[in-house]
């Protein structure tokens, strides 16, 4: 398992993405799964950067583990910010046209659709969000 702790800022999304991609490069991860994982990091770490400590800046930890049969990557995002369960939000109505579209929840919806598992818990003052993707 590898772990990275950085300030939860939009500027650090690229750093977190590179950190995870370096891990995935050790395995024969399909390009599509890699990109879906990069999108998931953008959505989830981006959420933490925007909301967890707003208006202050605080730390977030990202853990990556590749294991199992079939092989899967498990990425865990941990922050000590405001309790927030992204899975509690209702899925957006994707049938609405351009003018009526509400934007909330679309990012997490994309992550739910592209990952094999997603789980949230709030424990010991920490938001812990875990995604799993078979690779």
């Amino acid at each position: 398992m590898e772990e990275l702790t950085v300030d939860a800022t939009v500027e650090n999304i690229a750093r977190v993405t590179s950190f995870v991609e370096e891990e995935l490069e050790k395995y024969d991860c399909p390009v599509k799964a890699q990109m879906q994982i990069a999108v998931a990091i953008d959505e989830l770490f981006g959420n933490i950067a925007h909301y967890a400590y707003n208006p202050d800046i605080g730390p977030a930890t990202v853990r990556v583990e590749v294991s199992g049969e079939p092989l899967a990557v498990i990425i865990t995002f941990i922050d000590n910010g405001v309790p927030y369960d992204p899975l509690a939000k209702a899925d957006p109505d994707i049938s609405l046209g351009a003018q009526e579209r509400e934007f909330g929840g679309l990012g997490i919806f994309m992550v739910k659709k592209s990952m094999d598992e997603i789980a949230y818990e709030y424990k010991d003052g920490q938001n812990i969000l875990r995604i799993k993707k078979r690779i």
Binding site: V10, A38, G97
Partner: protein, 99 residues
């Protein structure tokens, strides 16, 4: 991300290269804002775009709303993964998407 802008009369093409995500979406939004005045045909070329996240979808939606008022917009050269994102999010119905 790299954005290549081509203007031909009232037609504008923005070719995107790299990743359209939280970090780069503001550049795309700024490029659109700076050049969309008086444009009746907007083309977003995604041939060299690896992927996009919801931050990119948000800008595309804004562009589509603008172009609904002043002309038309199409998104071209979409890869499989981006097409899947458009379908999952219902954007395939909002945008005019060409492979």
């Amino acid at each position: 991300m790299k954005i290549t802008k081509t203007v031909n009369g009232s037609s504008l093409c923005l070719a995107l290269e790299g990743r359209l995500d939280t970090t780069t979406a503001p550049e795309f939004e700024a490029a659109l804002k700076a050049s969309v005045d008086g444009i009746t045909e907007l083309t977003i070329d995604m041939k060299l775009l690896d992927y996009l996240s919801s931050a990119g979808l948000r800008i595309l939606l804004g562009a589509q709303k603008t172009m609904n008022k002043q002309g038309s917009m199409r998104v071209i050269h979409v890869n499989d993964m981006i097409q899947e994102i458009f379908e999952v999010t219902g954007f395939a119905d909002i945008l005019t998407v060409e492979a």
